[in-house]
């Protein structure tokens, strides 16, 4: 069985966010790029499944939609243990566009299992997984926090209100994974880093597709106003401020 893990190239979570081109573009200057944390956990679980010889998994591929600047992230995925990588050479315009591009690559190959992180830490759209399964005409399960093999079936766990739901289904399908799918992301070891340069990283041409959305403007959240401390016995002042300044009463 071959698993494909969809991987997003996102700014490190400590990035100082700045905008360019009249607030219509994210300013990528000085940004450090990383694997989207949810995708990284998906990759970690895929590798765990492959390493357990009682499972039928033999190959793990990672795929991304991105320009050459995304390659260090793909190399890291290879260093962690993915067998090969595919980069679809275009900017990831929006969720539908990304899902379509991934689907175009996946449908020509024989992946029985497609894993996606539930969302990405940059735009948090949480839409690619579902759209991808639709484009592939495959069933999908969302918010997956556990994945094990049982014969020909795969048991997926999902956290639901007050408990855990277990779903059993045969491959192929798309699993949209949530935190909890794997404990910790892996740190690439020296040996993995050395091997990564020898593993295949295929660059694929973009497929014709329409971009359905248009970014009009980014806006930074307004800075929080300073916190006002009112003496405990000064209830009248507090009420006055809540009524007339905050206007919440």
């Amino acid at each position: 069985m071959k698993i494909l893990v969809c991987v997003g190239n996102v700014p490190d979570t400590t990035t100082k966010v700045r905008f360019a081109e009249k607030n219509t573009k994210f300013d990528t200057n000085g940004v450090q790029w990383v694997i989207n944390p949810w995708d990284e956990l998906a990759l970690t679980r895929a590798l765990e499944l492959k390493e357990d010889s009682s499972n039928p998994v033999v190959h793990v591929t990672v795929a991304t939609v991105g320009r050459a600047g995304a390659e260090p992230t793909m190399r890291k995925a290879l260093a962690i243990g993915a067998d090969d990588a595919i980069r679809i050479d275009t900017d990831p315009e929006d969720s539908s566009f990304v899902a379509y591009q991934l689907a175009e690559v996946i449908k020509n190959e024989d992946y029985q299992l497609v894993l996606c992180g539930i969302e990405s830490s940059d735009y948090n759209g949480a839409a690619v997984g579902g759209m991808l399964s639709e484009y592939l005409d495959l069933p999908s399960v969302s918010a997956v926090t556990g994945m094990t093999f049982e014969g020909a079936d795969i048991i997926l766990s999902r956290e639901i209100d007050g408990g855990i739901e277990e779903v059993s289904l045969p491959a192929p399908f798309v699993a949209v994974v949530q935190k909890g799918i794997a404990k910790e992301p892996r740190i690439p070891a020296m040996r993995g880093i050395m091997m990564a340069r020898k593993k295949p990283l295929k660059v694929v041409e973009v497929a014709e597709a329409e971009t359905l959305t248009n970014m009009t403007e980014f806006e930074m959240p307004k800075p929080k106003p300073p916190c006002k401390m009112i003496e405990a016995e000064n209830v009248a002042e507090l009420v006055d401020l809540l009524q007339n300044e905050a206007k919440v009463l």
């Binding site: 190399r75 740190i187 880093i193 990564a196």
Partner: protein, 593 residues
């Protein structure tokens, strides 16, 4: 056999370097950056969360952390592939040293293991020794240590009293003696021990296993800082070391010790960059939270000055460290082609002994400034032992002492330079004599170039001329007795160190401008402005101290005229430059230059 070396140690004093010929950290490739990230992730997840436990020397924790680093391959970066390592370049190992350098006591254990603990065997061991020991050190299965210092033999390392005598059956050396300040002693499985065979004048080196009979350890030393680093005295009482564990042959120990120390000094520079950056991050983070007089303290010029200065010293150190590191890699390749008798890597380190000593002194004193100002920025909280800057401050202090004290290294800078001149490795004295003669025709204001880098180079070249003229004069006056005039050597050394570091910073910024364009490097130019300005201003005092202490009459007058011209610093608005650097740091809330 004879081949032109890519660079000669100390040659920066007498010749120009083209920016294209220096390596700058912005040129680290994708793989090196990934290795850096692995080191950072390891530090963030395994080391930084347990710093208190490390410092309390929780039983088994440090060897466990080293073993985990070993699992990631981080202990074998410099070890050849045939011995379970990764055979990476020196620059790559510096990248790891830099990142791990932010790991406080762990950084000391790591550096000891991967440097002085493993490399004597890697560079001087025979195939059997490497196969037996180096493979296990590279994976972290065994931990390494290095036993040179004795109660009576610190800076004067060759005066050690530990003795080795061949056993009657000729199968063992019997070692007796005592070593102290041995890092990783609490858990090291393998130690390189230096001792004199019979009544030899010079040391030999032996590979000693912890489990051999006749070795005992004192309890842990109580130290001012790096409290998590294991440091013990070791005693050898009729310790039987198999003859095959003699490293590199009888009498080779002192040479091994010195060359390994040259390597350790450059590596220390790398460690210090990491320690400096974490101290800067703590400083700026705090300054972005702490309010006084109704505003964040980093609105105040005094705090901006400190933040700016911390950055300048770190950037300058980094520029010099990576320049030297790549030179070492180039020299290793040169010596491989020349098939030297000794290991090419060790010959390369020896060639760069002057630069190694410079990096050791400059970086350790830079870190002391940075760690000290970090405490100051934290104010009263900085004096609390519960703040992170407390650990940084205490841990910093050892760097001026170990790997050869800064006093020894300052003298080494000048002494080694003079020896290179005497041996005609570089035409030092010829150039020095020429410059001394030219003291009568000093440059005038019209000679100052109009272009930015031309001006920087002009000021750095002036410092070279000034120090060469002094070298000429003190050598003439004192000859071999110059070594007894340590105060003069210290003054000269200070100027030479600043020359190397300022020039490295200039070359880096100039190269960076070519890569990124002038608009992208305005802050780096501010850093360079301050760096060169400070080198020139401090040289004025050092030079006056030196010439007033040895010269007289007409010559002294000439020197003073020369000092006035050569140390006439460019009119830089250092206040605004530091403020711009600090503002960027404050905005990013982390070091990103």
């Amino acid at each position: 056999m004879e081949k032109e070396l890519s660079v000669k140690g100390g040659s920066f004093m007498i010749q120009d370097t083209d920016p294209k010929d220096v390596f700058i950290p912005e040129e680290l490739d994708e793989e090196q950056q990934m290795i850096a990230q692995t080191c950072q992730d390891f530090l963030d997840t395994e080391v930084l969360p347990v710093l208190d436990e490390v410092d309390s020397q929780q039983e088994g924790l440090m060897p466990e952390l080293l073993a985990k680093a070993g699992e990631l391959g981080l202990l074998g970066i410099s070890v050849p592939e045939e011995y379970e390592g990764f055979g990476q370049s020196f620059v790559t190992s510096m990248v790891a040293s830099e990142i791990i350098g932010a790991g406080y006591s762990f950084a000391v254990a790591y550096s000891c293991h991967t440097g002085i603990g493993s490399l004597p065997i890697a560079y001087y061991g025979n195939h059997e020794q490497k196969e037996k020991y180096l493979t296990k050190l590279a994976t972290g299965e065994w931990k390494g240590a290095y036993c040179l210092t004795e109660p009576g033999a610190g800076s004067d390392a060759n005066s050690g009293k530990t003795k080795a005598v061949l056993s009657e059956d000729g199968k063992h050396y019997i070692l007796n003696g005592q070593k102290m300040w041995i890092t990783n002693a609490g858990f090291a499985d393998v130690m390189t021990v230096f001792a004199k065979i019979d009544n030899d004048r010079v040391l030999s080196a032996f590979i000693v296993e912890r489990t051999m009979d006749g070795i005992t350890f004192n309890p842990e030393e109580k130290k001012m800082g790096i409290k998590g680093s294991s440091t013990r005295q070791i005693f050898f009482n009729d310790l039987k070391v198999p003859v095959e564990n003699l490293l590199a042959g009888r009498g080779q120990g002192f040479r091994i010790a010195l060359n390994i120390l040259h390597m350790g000094r450059v590596k220390l520079g790398g460690n210090i960059i990491g320690a400096a950056k974490i101290a800067i991050n703590q400083s700026v983070n705090y300054s972005n939270e702490r309010k006084q007089f109704g505003m964040l303290i980093n609105n105040f010029g005094s705090i901006k000055h400190k933040l700016g200065q911390q950055v300048v010293k770190t950037y300058a150190t980094e520029s010099a460290v990576y320049r030297a590191a790549m030179n070492i890699d180039q020299l290793i390749e040169d010596f491989k082609e020349m098939s030297t008798r000794e290991n090419p890597t060790m010959v390369a380190f020896n060639q760069m002994a002057i630069e190694a000593a410079i990096l050791k002194v400059y970086s350790s004193e830079a870190l002391d400034y940075i760690a000290d100002e970090a405490v100051q920025i934290f104010g009263g909280m900085g004096y609390s032992a519960e703040m992170p800057v407390d650990r940084g401050y205490r841990d910093s202090r050892i760097n001026r002492i170990f790997e050869g004290t800064n006093e020894i290294n300052r003298i080494l800078v000048v002494d080694t330079l003079l020896k290179r001149g005497q041996k005609k490795d570089i035409p030092l004295f010829e150039k020095a004599a020429e410059v001394f003669e030219n003291l009568n025709s000093l440059p005038s204001k019209e000679d100052i170039p109009a272009d930015y880098y031309g001006r920087k180079k002009y000021h750095i070249d002036n410092l070279k001329s000034l120090s060469l003229a002094m070298i000429h004069s003190v050598s003439q006056k004192y000859g071999r007795k110059l070594m007894f005039e340590q105060e003069l050597l210290n003054g000269l050394s200070d100027i030479i160190m600043n020359i190397y570091v300022a020039e490295s910073t200039m070359l880096r910024v100039q190269k960076l401008e070519g890569m990124k364009g002038a608009d992208a490097i305005s802050l780096q130019k501010d850093i360079l402005d301050i760096c060169v300005y400070e080198a020139v201003v401090s040289a004025a005092k050092s030079a006056r101290d030196v010439v007033n202490s040895f010269s007289e009459g007409e010559e002294l007058g000439r020197f003073h005229k020369a000092i006035s011209v050569y140390t006439d610093a460019e009119r830089i608005n250092v206040k605004d430059a530091r403020r711009r650097i600090a503002d960027h740091l404050i905005d990013d809330n982390k070091y990103s230059f």
